[in-house]
Structure formats: structure tokens, C-alpha cells
């Protein structure tokens, strides 16, 4: 761990200015990931700007449209138990409660959850010399290393890491919108555009600028959000990252699927919105055959490595099972 200075911000603009003034400054929210990475020497900020006192802790209805705005500092445990979320977006609550441990959820923030960094072993331990994400140009240690937890979709030869969040998989399916504020004012980022695929720059993980602060996450209204399910496959019953996870929601029109929402976790560098599967499901009967076909379509280009090839079959089964569960809902 390196020496750093600490400042507590009293308002958002001051926090943003503070971080903008120092290229090695970072915002500090719950700290559940950042402080961990600082201990490992992966993150080495010169200054931490603590935003925990900012008034970003509310979950409120958006006027007119039935959507909900989640303040960036709403803790994961509060969000999971929030009545608006539980009644309108149970998928999000389910995803949150499947993640981490109660202690971590009590501290982890909504904004911070979006910025979680990968659990790739070769990224997390700087003693491994190769990691294009941590040290651009150094290579990828996972490619020929122990890659059991790594990506099968959207990866590049530069990086096969996965995004570890559960919450973000639900947000991808719910088409959330991220509201950010920077020195030039506010802007919104569609959730699908927020996280990036690794390409040749796996060190650039989001479309957030270094001096921009996440202020809130908006959930647009979704009529069929109750008809949803978050399925997480893991190595133990609790406190384990997803090998594969699926966020699924179905809008039915009589006996056929009108709209499907599907996102996958544990398979890619970002929460993976399964657009191809969604398209394949539209207009189909909700049965195992159509679910299987949708899964096959989505995974047609999936690529496994020495230790993670099982994820392709696991993802296929998880998609079918999650959709089957949703289809059975009244």
C-alpha cells in the first residue's frame, strides 16, 4: 500500500473538482473493492475523495413515468430491501441478495457496484507480471494460465477477464440509465454503453471519464418487471462470484412471448446483454425448445479456454432454466 491523502467532500461539485485537479485521485464510496485493491497494490491512488456524506442516498419514484431513481450512495442491502425495488423490480433485489455477504452489502454502494473490477487472479495480484488491464502491454496471464473463472463471450486476445457484479446483470436486463456529473455538467449513459468490451484497451473498463461522478441510476418503467428471475450458478451456496448468472424477464402476449429481456453475468468483460437471444425469443412459445434455440443463438460464438470451456454448456443450461422459471410465473 502506498501513502495517500484523504479528503471528505461536502458536495458533489467539490468532489468532482477535487478529483479533476489530481489525475491520481479517486472517489471513495463503500470502499469494499477499492480499499481491497489498494491493499493488494493494484490501485495506488495519491488521494481519496470520500463521497459518503453526499446526499445521494435516496430511492425515489421518477415523476410521471413510474420509473425509479436510485442515488449512487444507496447501499446494496438498503436497495435490495427497498419496497419500490421489491415491488417493481424484484429482479434487481434478487440479484443484489445473491451477491457478496451481508457485511459487504451493508457498505457497498450502487455507484461503486458499477465500478467493481474483475476478480481475474492475474489482475488482482501484481506479483503476476502479465496483465494488460493492470499494466497495458504486459500481456494476458490468464490466456494460458488458470482461466476457470474467465470469459467466453466478447473477449479479446488482450484480456479474458469477467465483470464480477450481480447487480449490474440485473441493471443490464432492466435497461438502466446511469446519470453522471463531471466538470462540464451532467450527462446520461445507457447501461449497455457504460461498460466496455476489452478490445485492445482492457484497462479502459467504462465510458465514465476519470473526473466524472456517478450520481444516480435510473430504472425506466417496465410493465413486466415482476415476471423476472435472477439465476446464479456458483461454487458454494453463498459468498461466491458467479460462474454464470442469468437475469431474465418475459412479457407475454397470450401464449407467446412479446418481449424478452436477458442478460448474462460471469461470461464477459461486461454484463452481457443477450440481444440475439432476446430477438430469437420474440413471438415464440415459452417452451424449452425455444429457450434452447435462443441460448444456442446467443452462445454460437462463445469461445472457451483450457479451464473454462464448461461455461458454454453451463450458460446454455442456465439460460434455459432461468427462462423456464420465469415462464412458470403467474
Amino acid at each position: 500500500m502506498n501513502p495517500f491523502t484523504y479528503a471528505r467532500a461536502t458536495d458533489a461539485q467539490a468532489a468532482i473538482n477535487g478529483v479533476a485537479a489530481n489525475p491520481r485521485a479517486k472517489f471513495l464510496g463503500g470502499g469494499t473493492n477499492l480499499v481491497d485493491l489498494m491493499k493488494m497494490g493494484v490501485e495506488q491512488p495519491a488521494q481519496l475523495v470520500d463521497i459518503n456524506r453526499l446526499p445521494l442516498t435516496r430511492v425515489e419514484e421518477l415523476p410521471n413515468n413510474g420509473g425509479v431513481r436510485i442515488g449512487a450512495l444507496v447501499r446494496n442491502s438498503d436497495l435490495a430491501e427497498n419496497d419500490l425495488i421489491k415491488s417493481r423490480y424484484p429482479l434487481l433485489s434478487e440479484a443484489l441478495l445473491s451477491g457478496a455477504s451481508p457485511q459487504l452489502r451493508n457498505l457497498a454502494t450502487t455507484g461503486g457496484n458499477l465500478l467493481q473490477r474483475t476478480r481475474c487472479y492475474y489482475f488482482y495480484d501484481p506479483a503476476f507480471p502479465m496483465c494488460n488491464k493492470r499494466a497495458p502491454g504486459s500481456g494476458c496471464g490468464a490466456l494460458e494460465g488458470y482461466n476457470r473463472i474467465h470469459a467466453i463471450l466478447g473477449q479479446s486476445e488482450q484480456c479474458i477477464a469477467t465483470h464480477p457484479s450481480d447487480m449490474c446483470v440485473a441493471l443490464a436486463a432492466l435497461e438502466a440509465v446511469v446519470r453522471v456529473q463531471g466538470p462540464q455538467g451532467e450527462r446520461t449513459i445507457a447501461f449497455e454503453d457504460f461498460h466496455r468490451l476489452p478490445g485492445d484497451t482492457p484497462n479502459v473498463e467504462t465510458s465514465l471519464q476519470p473526473n466524472e461522478l456517478i450520481m444516480a441510476v435510473d430504472l425506466p418503467p417496465l410493465r413486466f418487471a415482476q415476471r423476472s428471475h435472477y439465476l446464479k450458478v456458483r461454487d458454494r451456496a453463498s459468498y461466491a462470484f458467479a460462474l454464470v448468472s442469468v437475469a431474465a424477464a418475459l412479457e407475454m402476449d397470450g401464449g407467446t412471448i412479446k418481449t424478452a429481456r436477458l442478460a448474462l453475468g460471469g461470461v464477459a468483460h461486461k454484463p452481457w446483454r443477450a440481444r440475439k437471444a432476446e430477438q430469437a425469443l420474440a413471438g415464440k412459445s415459452p417452451n424449452e425448445q425455444s429457450f434452447r434455440a435462443a441460448a444456442e443463438t446467443e452462445l454460437a460464438n462463445a469461445k472457451g479456454y483450457k479451464y473454462n470451456a464448461f461455461k458454454i454448456e453451463l450458460a446454455r443450461r442456465a439460460i434455459i432454466q432461468a427462462l423456464s422459471t420465469v415462464a412458470k410465473m403467474a
Binding site: 501513502p3 494460465g145 488458470y146 450458478v233 461454487d235 453463498s238
Partner: protein, 726 residues
């Protein structure tokens, strides 16, 4: 004074709560890392970044210049340690054979190269990041199946100088030739490297009171052994070194033996002339002081038409580091658990550039009985015989390896009671035949549990004050399993005192000798010494007062006349040589588990019924807790635990508790644990036998067998994670 005796003495077999519980809850129970003398400095290990090669330079300039750094101990400024005492490095001994800072040779990632000493922990961490280690690397040997590993293979004769590792009874090859393929089974089981991971990491706090006087607070289960090792390293008489360890936060096989951090911390303290505390980071729990070795176990068994075993061959390959000689003794239970006229057990040891293995709970038995009990299940399935019936068919009425009768054995009752309590009779033997309403496949499996009932020499000292307060001391340890309580209970019961009158003291090398905590022998070994000390005390008091008092008025008067404040007595105990020569001492049990397996390959153990023949139960509450904990340990081994070295560099990739998976509360089944509670007539402490490790043994096999029953899929490589079932 009769008020002191108002409460009745505790009974043997009474469920007492832990006497040290309140102190632990209030934070008054001090662990090694909580002792903080004045001027104490902090130490951290400098470690090898590579698995094989030579250290070419340690650039310490930046680290030395960092704020708060007091000094750095390396080979350049440290005195040479003499070799470890020969009795801890005899062939087959656990842990490292090489003292630290010998030369520039590097044998594994994490090997200790020095100690930075700083004023505070944060300064220490910063300084550590500034050390530059340069090496000349060689190709590391990281897999047992590599030719370079095979070239290093040896066939060790004995485990820890005791148990024979190469055994042949009858004619296995001949017997196998006589049996058709449908009654033979030839399979290979594998278990990965596993790490102990007690919640309290290793910690040493070393303080030199004078040039020839050293006190070490250590998280250890081997006080007396460590005293000898440290005294030898610094060329001091043993009594010049005190080892203090009143509470240990779990060990599971770690925290014994000779590991370099203790010596390095003491050397660092001498270098800076200040007390130094060195605590492992969690990552160091994976690379610095022991782990369970990887095993590959080739199993061949054959049975006659009537289901009787006719041949059993158990060939183990396991690894150790280049600086050690310890092998995981997987085949020892295969020598005698079942009646079989032709048995071959062999062990092969290869050297890898990985950290040094050592015992981990039920060393040998845990992975070895996994293989044995899975093989039995496979054979039973192949022969279409019920697994319990198959075991009863091959019941060993005596120990055919030792050629002795059992001291006592009630395994048959364990099978029958366990089967009844579990509802085994209702089981459809067809794999994959039962589904739960949630779509999961349900399976049940069972396995035999077995663990040696060992004893070691031990001693205790008892001090009775005139008002009936008793202190009993022994240099034993409290790993969190109930030593304080059980020893207090035994002493209070023996002398008819209320529990409140008794204080048991441990964790100090100045107390009378006690063995390393291990082998599930603490209660019987130390308990026997405690009982003997109490008996000696009783005799002394009776001599003085004419009888053992039912109040202490007469004792007080006699002592006052003699000008004494208290009466003291010593007790010793040794294994009963005659009984040990005559009988084979083993504990037994039968574990039945039910699992649910979903279509995604996720296994959850839903219930576990165990019946154990472990002699008389002294304290059912603590005994049950021990066995439940051990079964959970076995579930971790079955379903999730694996330490993974990077295939190229040998660096552990999952050296943390987020990615090295242990069972969480949500992974724990409903328990139904029973003890036959029948005394072993040849064991000293009310016929009790040790219970520490037997709960682990058999659990991984019972789970794997249940997974087979649920799915029809036989997973022979632990842990059974989703990828192996889809």
C-alpha cells in the same frame, strides 16, 4: 468454607459450556497477535517471487529509506542458524528440513528471504512494496505427472518415522488374475492441494528480555517442540526460551512443526533490540507454512462372488517440496479397515517447486479414505450389493495388518443405527431415481469413518489451596475445541470439586510437558496426566488430613500448622505399552448423507447422519460440536476446497478466502450426530478416545457417493464443482 463446595462437581458425560467462553466473548482471551509490549515493532516477510532458481540480489535501498523502517534482516546481516534438531527432521517428518537464509537457492514462490522491521504496519506495507528482488530463474517443476517430477520420485519407508508406507500382504497380483473383470475395479482418485486456513493466521511476537533470554508469543499447537527448535536455533538452553500461547484460533494441522517465520522473527527482534511481531497476511497462509499435498490414488479391488474382497491395491503418489520429506499417508487405513487376504499399499513421493506440505486434519485418512470408501461404493454398485451390506460382508473382526484384536470395535452398531436413523432402507439403489419437487436430483451415500486412537506421554501439575481452589497446569494448547473445559471437568470430577473451583492453565512452556496437539490425542493424553496429578494430590492430602475432605476446614488447619499455603502434586502419563502391544486402537463411525444436485451441477448437502464409536463421551456438547465441525470440513473438501498454483509460475492464484472456498453457513446440512458412548476398556480417561479428526474421515466419500447416487456420474477428482457435473 463448605460454601466452596456448594455446587456439585461436574459429571463425566455432562454437557458443559466452554469455561473460557465469557472471556472470549468479552475480548479478554488474548491471542498471540494481541500481546503488545512497549517498543514493539512490526515485521513482514520478504518472499521469493519465483518457484525455482537463484536469488541474485535484494535491492533494499528504497525500502530502508522509507519512513518508519528500522532495519531489514537478510542473509547479509543475520547470524547463521544451525540445522534443525535431527529429531524433527528424521525421514518422513513434516515441515521444512532447511533452516531459512542458508544460501541463494530458491525452491518455491513465497520462500522467506528476510524480514523488514518498521514502526507501524502501514509503514511496513509501504516498505515491503519498495523491495526489489532479482533472481536467475530455472524452469520450475509444478506437476506430479511431469518427467522431471517422476525423476525425483522416492518410495518413503515410513510416515513420521512410525507408520509403514509400503505394505504387501498375500498375493494381490495372483488374486486379481483369478477374478473376472465384472468383479474387478481399477480407478484413479485425485485430491488437490488444500490449505488449513484457520481464522487466526500464524503469528510470532518475539521479545528478548536479555541476551540469553527469549520470550515468544506464538500461535502454535506445539509449545514444547517449538521451545526446543528455537533454543537450538539460537544455541540457548531450552529453559532460556519461553513459548506462550494461551489461545489459538484454530490450526487444523497448521501451527505445528518447524517453519521459518518463528526463527526469523526472533532474529529480527535481536537485530533491532526490540520486541517484534510478525503476523501472516492471508496470502501467506497459502505459501509459507504448510498445506495438504496433492494426491493421486490408483485403486484396484476385486471381490469374490459372495461379495468378499479378495484383493485391494492402493497406490498413492503425492508431493512435497524440495526442502522436505513428508508424504501424505493415504493408504494406511486401507491396510486394515476391511477383511481382505491380499493387500498392497504403496506410497510414492515426488518433489515439486511448491511450498512444503504437512499434516492437515486427518492427514492421510481424509484423502485416503475418500478413495477407499468411493472404491467400496463403486464395487458394491458393480456387484449390485447394498453399500452397507457390502461393508458388513467385509467387516474386519480384527486388525489383520497389525495381527491384533481391536481394543474395542462397535462399527457394526454404527452402520445399523446410522442406517436406521437416516432411513437407508427406503433408498432406491438405482442412481438418478429420485427427484425433488424443485427439479433437483436427490441422492444418498454413506461411508465408513475411522481414525487411530493414539496416546502420547504427557504431564501435569496440580496446586490445591487451603480453601479448595485448584489450579492444574500442563503445556498443552487450546485450539478452540474445548481443552480448558474438558481438563477442568476431569479435574473437578476427580477431586469432587465444583467446576468454579478449578482453573486449568495451559499454553506456557514452563508448565509440565505435553505433546504437540494433533492426532486427536490431546484429551486422552493430557487428561490422563491431569487425572494422575489429581490422584497424587488426593494422596498427599489424605496423608496429611487422614481423608479427602468433604469440606476444607481440616486441610486449612493442617496446612496452617505446617506453615503451608497450598499442596502441590505432579502427574505423568504414558501410553500403556502392554495394551498397545496387545490391541489395535481405532475409532470408528458411519456417516450417511443426502445431497441435492441441480441441473447446473450445484451440489448441496441437505442432511448428514453420523453414528460414532469413539469411546466414552466426556462432554456431549463439545463432542457434537467437534464432529459437526469436522463433517463441515469434510464437506469443504468434497465440494469446494482447492489451492491452485498457476500452471506456469507456481504462484497460488486463489490465496484468499473469497476464491479459496470453504463452506458458508448456507452450505451446512441438517445434522443428526450420535455417539455410541461406550467406554474403550483399554483407554485411560474413562474409556474415552479422541474425536478431533474422525468426523472428516469418510465425509468426502459419503458426499461423492451420494452425488453418484443422485446423478449416475462418478466424480473421482475433488472438489466436486459444477464443471465436473454438467
Amino acid at each position: 468454607m463448605s460454601a466452596a463446595l456448594a455446587a456439585p462437581p461436574p459429571q463425566i458425560g455432562q454437557s458443559l459450556t466452554r469455561v473460557e467462553g465469557p472471556a472470549k466473548v468479552k475480548g479478554q482471551a488474548l491471542y498471540a497477535a494481541e500481546f503488545r509490549p512497549d517498543r514493539m515493532a512490526y515485521g513482514a516477510l520478504i518472499q521469493s517471487p519465483i518457484a525455482h532458481g537463484r536469488l541474485t540480489s535484494l535491492d533494499l535501498a528504497a525500502a530502508k529509506a522509507a519512513p518508519g523502517v528500522i532495519d531489514i534482516l537478510t542473509r547479509e546481516n543475520a547470524s547463521r542458524f544451525p540445522s534443525y534438531p535431527s529429531d524433527v527432521t528424521k525421514p518422513g517428518s513434516p515441515a521444512e528440513n532447511r533452516v531459512p537464509l542458508q544460501d541463494d537457492e530458491l525452491f518455491w514462490v513465497g520462500q522467506h528471504l528476510g524480514v523488514i522491521i518498521a514502526e507501524s504496519l502501514d509503514q511496513l506495507q509501504q516498505a515491503l512494496s519498495l523491495v526489489r528482488v532479482s533472481c536467475a530463474p530455472n524452469e520450475p517443476v509444478l506437476r506430479m505427472d511431469l518427467p522431471a517430477a517422476q525423476q525425483s520420485a522416492t518410495k518413503p519407508e515410513k510416515w513420521v518415522g512410525q507408520e509403514k508406507l509400503q505394505v504387501s500382504l498375500g498375493d494381490v497380483a495372483g488374486a486379481l488374475a483369478s477374478v473376472p473383470p465384472e468383479r474387478k475395479l481399477e480407478v484413479t482418485y485425485r485430491t488437490p492441494i488444500e490449505n488449513h486456513n484457520p481464522i487466526e493466521p500464524y503469528c510470532t511476537m518475539a521479545e528478548w528480555l536479555a541476551r540469553d533470554r527469549l520470550v515468544i508469543h506464538e500461535a502454535t499447537r506445539g509449545i514444547k517442540q517449538l521451545q526446543k527448535i528455537v533454543a537450538h536455533a539460537f544455541q540457548l538452553p531450552p529453559q532460556s526460551v519461553d513459548i506462550v500461547s494461551p489461545y489459538v484460533g484454530g490450526a487444523f494441522g497448521s501451527k505445528g512443526f518447524q517453519w521459518s517465520h518463528t526463527l526469523l522473527t526472533a532474529a529480527a527482534a535481536r537485530l533491532v533490540r526490540r520486541p517484534v511481531r510478525l503476523t501472516f497476511m492471508r496470502t501467506q497462509m497459502f505459501d509459507s507454512a504448510g498445506q495438504r499435498a496433492e494426491t493421486e490414488q490408483k485403486f484396484t479391488i476385486a471381490a469374490e462372488k459372495n461379495g468378499k474382497l479378495i484383493a485391494l491395491r492402493h497406490a498413492t503418489t503425492t508431493h512435497c517440496s524440495p526442502v522436505a520429506d513428508y508424504s501424505e499417508p493415504c493408504g494406511n487405513m486401507s491396510r486394515m479397515l476391511y477383511a481382505c487376504p491380499n493387500i498392497e499399499v504403496s506410497h510414492e513421493l515426488v518433489r515439486l517447486n511448491l511450498t512444503t506440505p504437512c499434516p492437515m486434519r486427518a492427514p492421510g485418512e481424509a484423502p485416503g479414505v475418500f478413495a477407499l470408501e468411493c472404491a467400496l461404493d463403486e464395487m458394491a454398485h458393480q456387484l449390485k450389493i447394498d453399500p452397507v451390506r457390502f461393508r458388513l460382508t467385509n467387516y474386519a473382526e480384527r486388525d489383520d495388518f497389525e495381527k491384533k484384536p481391536w481394543s474395542s470395535k462397535r462399527l457394526r452398531e454404527c452402520y445399523t443405527q446410522g442406517a436406521e436413523k437416516f432411513g437407508w432402507a427406503k433408498r432406491n439403489p438405482q442412481p438418478g431415481s429420485v427427484s425433488a419437487p424443485n427439479g433437483c436430483r436427490i441422492g444418498s451415500g454413506m461411508a465408513t469413518a475411522v481414525y487411530p486412537a493414539k496416546r502420547q506421554p504427557a504431564a501435569a501439575h496440580a496446586i490445591l489451596s487451603a480453601d479448595g481452589q485448584l489450579i492444574v497446569q500442563s503445556a498443552t494448547h487450546s485450539l478452540g475445541t474445548g481443552t480448558y473445559t474438558t481438563m477442568s471437568q476431569l479435574a473437578a470430577n476427580a477431586l469432587g470439586l465444583p467446576l468454579e473451583n478449578v482453573r486449568f492453565e495451559l499454553g506456557d512452556s514452563r508448565f509440565p510437558d505435553a505433546p504437540v496437539n494433533g492426532g486427536s490425542w490431546l484429551t486422552v493424553s493430557v487428561g490422563s496426566a491431569v487425572l494422575n496429578a489429581c490422584e497424587a494430590l488426593k494422596e498427599k492430602v489424605t496423608e496429611l488430613t487422614g481423608n479427602w475432605p468433604n469440606d476444607f476446614t481440616s486441610l486449612r488447619e493442617v496446612l496452617a500448622r505446617n506453615g503451608q499455603k497450598q499442596i502441590e502434586a505432579d502427574g505423568k502419563s504414558e501410553p500403556d505399552r502392554e495394551a498397545r502391544e496387545k490391541f489395535s486402537f481405532q475409532s470408528f463411525g458411519a456417516l450417511f448423507v443426502e445431497v441435492e444436485v441441480d441441473s447446473l451441477g450445484q451440489v448441496r448437502v441437505t442432511r448428514a447422519t453420523g453414528v460414532y464409536d469413539v469411546g466414552r463421551i466426556l462432554n456431549p456438547r463439545l463432542a457434537r460440536s467437534q464432529v459437526c465441525g469436522a463433517v463441515i470440513f469434510g464437506i469443504g473438501m468434497a465440494l469446494m476446497e482447492a489451492t491452485v498454483p498457476d500452471p506456469k509460475t507456481g504462484r497460488i492464484v486463489n490465496a484468499n478466502l473469497a476464491e479459496y472456498h470453504l463452506p458458508t453457513q448456507a452450505d451446512i446440512p441438517q445434522f443428526d450426530i450420535h455417539f455410541l458412548d461406550q467406554p474403550d476398556p483399554h483407554m485411560p480417561v474413562n474409556g474415552a478416545r479422541g474425536i478431533g479428526e474422525i468426523g472428516i474421515v469418510g465425509t468426502p466419500a459419503a458426499v461423492a457417493n451420494a452425488v453418484f447416487h443422485a446423478t449416475g456420474k462418478r466424480v473421482r477428482e475433488l472438489p466436486i464443482t459444477p464443471d465436473k457435473l454438467i
